[in-house]
C-alpha cells in the first residue's frame, strides 16, 4: 500500500444514495482508509434518482445513476463510492452488485443482494458489512484501473454471485496491490482540501 496520502490530495468519498445504514457507510469508509491508506469522508445522503427506475424490471439502472452523479460537482474529490440499498441492473445483465467507471471517478455499490443468505436465512450484520466492504473495494479497484484478477481469493477476482463474494478474501493479492499502488500515484493528483457539496446538503 502507498504511504498515507493526506486530504490535500483529494478525498475518496463515500456517498449514501437513499436510506443506507450508518454502520454500512462506516464499514465502507473504514475499509477504504485501511486498504487504500487514503483519506476518506462520508457525504450527506442523496435521494435515489427516480429516473433510474425501470418499471418493467422493477430495478434501478446503475448506468443512469452514475450519469446522474456525473452531473453533480465532485471536483474536489478524487473518487466517489456511492452506496444504494436498491437492486441494480445494467441492460445486458439481470443484476449487478456493483458498477464502476474504468479508471473514472464514480463507483456504485448495491446492498440489496448482499443481505440475502443461504436458503431464506438473513445473514448476520457483520457478514453483510464484510460483503459490502468487499464489493466497494472491488469497484474502487476498477476506478484505479485494476482489472479482474485470476487469483480466486483476491478481492479483484470476478464474483458473479453471493457465494463467490463470500469465497474471496477482503484483501488484494500481491500483484493487484502492486498495480494499485502504482495506479494510485497516477490517479491521485493534489487538489484543494475536501469541502462540502452544496448540491448534496
Amino acid at each position: 500500500m502507498p504511504d498515507s496520502i493526506g486530504p490535500e490530495k483529494g478525498c475518496i468519498v463515500v456517498l449514501p444514495i437513499g436510506k443506507v445504514p450508518e454502520s454500512a457507510l462506516d464499514a465502507v469508509s473504514d475499509s477504504i482508509s485501511l486498504y487504500f491508506n487514503h483519506h476518506t469522508r462520508i457525504l450527506s445522503p442523496l435521494r435515489t434518482p427516480q429516473c433510474a427506475f425501470d418499471e418493467q424490471r422493477r430495478q434501478y439502472n446503475a448506468a443512469t445513476i452514475i450519469r446522474t452523479l456525473e452531473s453533480i460537482n465532485f471536483e474536489d474529490d478524487a473518487k466517489v463510492v456511492a452506496i444504494v440499498n436498491v437492486d441494480l441492473f445494467i441492460p445486458i445483465f439481470t443484476h449487478v452488485m456493483g458498477e464502476a467507471q474504468e479508471g473514472g471517478k464514480f463507483a456504485l455499490v448495491s446492498m440489496y443482494r448482499l443481505m440475502k443468505g443461504g436458503v431464506g436465512n438473513r445473514p448476520s450484520t457483520s457478514k453483510i458489512l464484510k460483503r459490502l466492504a468487499k464489493v466497494a473495494l472491488h469497484e474502487l479497484g476498477h476506478l484505479f484501473d485494476v482489472v479482474h484478477c485470476a487469483d480466486e481469493k483476491c478481492i479483484m477476482h470476478f464474483a458473479g454471485n453471493i457465494q463467490d463474494i463470500d469465497h474471496i478474501m477482503l484483501n488484494f493479492c500481491t500483484y493487484c496491490e502492486r498495480y494499485l499502488e502504482e495506479s494510485m500515484k497516477r490517479h491521485l493528483k493534489p487538489t484543494s482540501l475536501c469541502s462540502h457539496h452544496p448540491e448534496l446538503t
Binding site: 441492460p91 445486458i92 445483465f93 474504468e102 458473479g160
Partner: protein, 448 residues
C-alpha cells in the same frame, strides 16, 4: 483464467456494446466493438479475433448472416449469439449454423463468466490442434522442401537413400524448382554432413574465373593473382560440391572436371604438384543434356560421370496439388517476416494459383506470395492480389494438338478438385459418364 482472448462485441445497441466491452476489459481481455455486421466483418478482415459476441437482431445484416459469413471466412473464430427471450428459436438455429453458444438477454454476470471460461477452453483446444497440425505439416516437408504430390513424396523417399552413397548426382529440373534445396538436403542426410557444402553457379562465371575458383592458383599464376589461393575443390574437402547449371560449362572445363572426378586429384593453376581432394559432386541442370550431347555441346563421358544417379524435380505445373501447401507455407513465412496479419487465401485465389502455369516454378510462387503479402491491406489474399500473374502463361514447347490440350486440361481440373469426378464434370460442362470415358481414353491416373 490465464488465457486472454481477443473479443469483438457486435451489437447495434450502444449500451450493450459498452457494457460488454467494459466487462471484458475488466477481465483483462482485449476487446473491440462493432455497431453492425458489416463493421464487424471489416474489422475481422483487418485483424484476427478469437471470439465474437453477436446480437441476433440487427438491422441490414442480422446475427445469423454475420455468423454464416464468419464461419465461411474465418472458421476458427468462435461466435456466441446474444438474443432476447423472444427469439430463442433463432438462437437454436444459430447453434446449428456453428455458433459456439448463446446468451439470453439479460443474463446473469456469472453466466457470461461461464461462457467465457468455456470459450477459453475451446481456444486452448484449437491452439493445441494447430500445434499438432503444425507437426503434421512438417511431415509433408523435407528439409524445407515442401510437397505432398506423388513426385515429391517419391523424392523425399529417394533423398535419404542416395545421400548414403558417395556417387555423383545429377539433379534435373526447370528453373526455380528447388534443385539447390534438394542438393542441400542430400548433403544434410549424408555422412559428409559435417563437412562443407559449397554451391557454385557455373552459368554465372566466365570460364577462366570458374577455373580459378574451382582449382585455385599459385601467386603470380596470372595477372591479378597477387597471392596463392585454394580452389573450392580443395576447400570443399570432406563435404559436398554443388555445381549449379553444369550444362553451361565449357568443353575444356568438362575435361578438367572429368579428370578430377576420375583421379580425385587437382593441380592448382600455376603449380605442378597434384593435391588430393575428397568431395562428393552434385550437379544440376535445367538443360536437356542428352540433346546437348547429340548437338555436340556436352561431352558424353563427362555426362555419364556426373550422372551416376539422376533426380528429376517435377515443375510446379505438374504437381499442382502442392500449390496450396506451398502458398500457405510462404504466406506464413512472409506474414511473420513482415509482421502483417495476412493469414489466408480465398478459395478463388487458390483456384487461380492452381490454374496458373508457373513458368518460374516455386521461386515464382514464392515471389508472388511475398509481393501479395507486402502490398495487401487485408488479412485475406484474393485474386486481385495476384494481378501481376495475369500475363499470358509461358508458351509450351513444341506444337500441341487439340487432344493433348484436352487431356492436359481434364487432368488439371481433376487434380484441382482432388479427383472428385462429379465436381470436375460440372466444371468441364460434361456429364460424369463422359468424364469417366475421357479418363479411360487418356489413361489418366491420380498423381500423374
Amino acid at each position: 483464467m490465464d488465457e486472454k482472448l481477443r473479443i469483438m462485441v457486435v451489437d447495434d445497441e450502444k449500451i450493450v456494446r459498452e457494457s460488454l466491452y467494459h466487462w471484458f476489459k475488466r477481465e483483462g481481455h482485449s476487446a473491440e466493438t462493432a455497431a453492425s455486421g458489416l463493421e464487424a466483418l471489416e474489422k475481422l478482415e483487418r485483424a484476427p479475433f478469437d471470439v465474437l459476441f453477436v446480437d441476433i437482431k440487427m438491422p441490414k445484416m442480422d446475427g445469423l448472416e454475420v455468423l454464416r459469413r464468419v464461419k465461411e471466412g474465418y472458421p476458427d473464430t468462435i461466435v456466441i449469439i446474444i438474443t432476447a427471450y423472444g427469439s430463442v428459436e433463432s438462437a437454436v438455429e444459430a447453434m446449428k449454423f456453428g455458433a459456439h453458444d448463446y446468451l439470453l438477454k439479460p443474463f446473469k454476470p456469472d453466466q457470461l463468466a461461464l461462457v467465457i471460461e468455456k470459450t477459453v477452453s475451446q481456444v486452448k483446444l484449437t491452439s493445441r490442434y494447430r500445434y499438432v497440425k503444425g507437426l503434421l505439416d512438417k511431415i509433408t516437408r523435407f528439409d524445407n522442401i515442401i510437397g505432398q504430390s506423388p513426385p515429391m513424396r517419391e523424392l523425399f523417399e529417394v533423398i535419404p537413400e542416395v545421400a548414403q552413397s558417395d556417387s555423383s548426382i545429377l539433379i534435373t529440373g526447370e528453373t526455380g524448382t528447388g534443385k539447390e534445396l534438394v542438393a542441400k538436403a542430400i548433403h544434410a542426410k549424408s555422412p559428409r554432413s559435417k563437412g562443407p557444402f559449397i554451391a557454385i553457379n557455373c552459368g554465372a562465371l566466365p570460364d577462366t574465373l570458374l577455373e580459378s575458383e574451382l582449382f585455385g592458383h599459385q601467386k603470380g599464376a596470372f595477372t591479378g593473382a597477387d597471392r596463392a589461393r585454394k580452389g573450392f575443390l580443395e576447400v570443399v574437402s570432406g563435404g559436398t560440391l554443388f555445381l549449379d547449371e553444369i550444362g553451361e560449362i565449357s568443353p575444356k572445363m568438362q575435361v578438367d572436371l572429368l579428370r578430377v572426378l576420375e583421379e580425385k586429384k587437382i593441380i592448382r593453376i600455376g603449380e605442378r604438384e597434384p593435391i588430393e581432394v575428397d568431395f562428393r559432386l552434385i550437379a544440376s541442370t535445367r538443360r536437356d543434356l542428352p540433346t546437348a550431347i547429340s548437338d555436340g555441346d556436352f561431352r558424353e563421358d563427362f555426362f555419364y560421370r556426373i550422372n551416376v544417379i539422376t533426380l528429376q524435380i517435377a515443375p510446379l505445373r505438374k504437381r499442382k496439388e502442392d500449390i496450396p501447401l506451398l502458398a500457405k507455407h510462404f504466406l506464413n513465412k512472409y506474414s511473420r517476416e513482415t509482421t502483417k496479419h495476412v493469414d489466408r487465401i480465398t478459395p478463388e485465389a487458390e483456384g487461380f494459383l492452381k490454374r496458373y502455369d508457373w513458368p518460374g516454378n516455386v521461386r515464382e510462387l514464392e515471389n508472388a506470395i511475398e509481393r501479395a503479402v507486402v502490398l495487401s491491406k487485408k488479412r485475406t489474399l484474393g485474386v486481385e492480389n495476384f494481378s501481376c500473374l495475369n500475363a499470358p502463361t509461358a508458351p509450351q514447347n513444341g506444337a500441341r494438338t487439340l487432344k493433348e490440350r484436352e487431356k492436359e486440361y481434364v487432368q488439371e481440373i481433376l487434380m484441382e478438385n482432388d479427383w472428385n469426378v462429379t465436381r470436375s464434370a460440372q466444371i468441364l460442362g460434361i456429364n460424369r459418364v463422359t468424364l469417366h470415358k475421357m479418363i479411360k481414353r487418356y489413361r489418366l491416373q491420380r498423381g500423374q
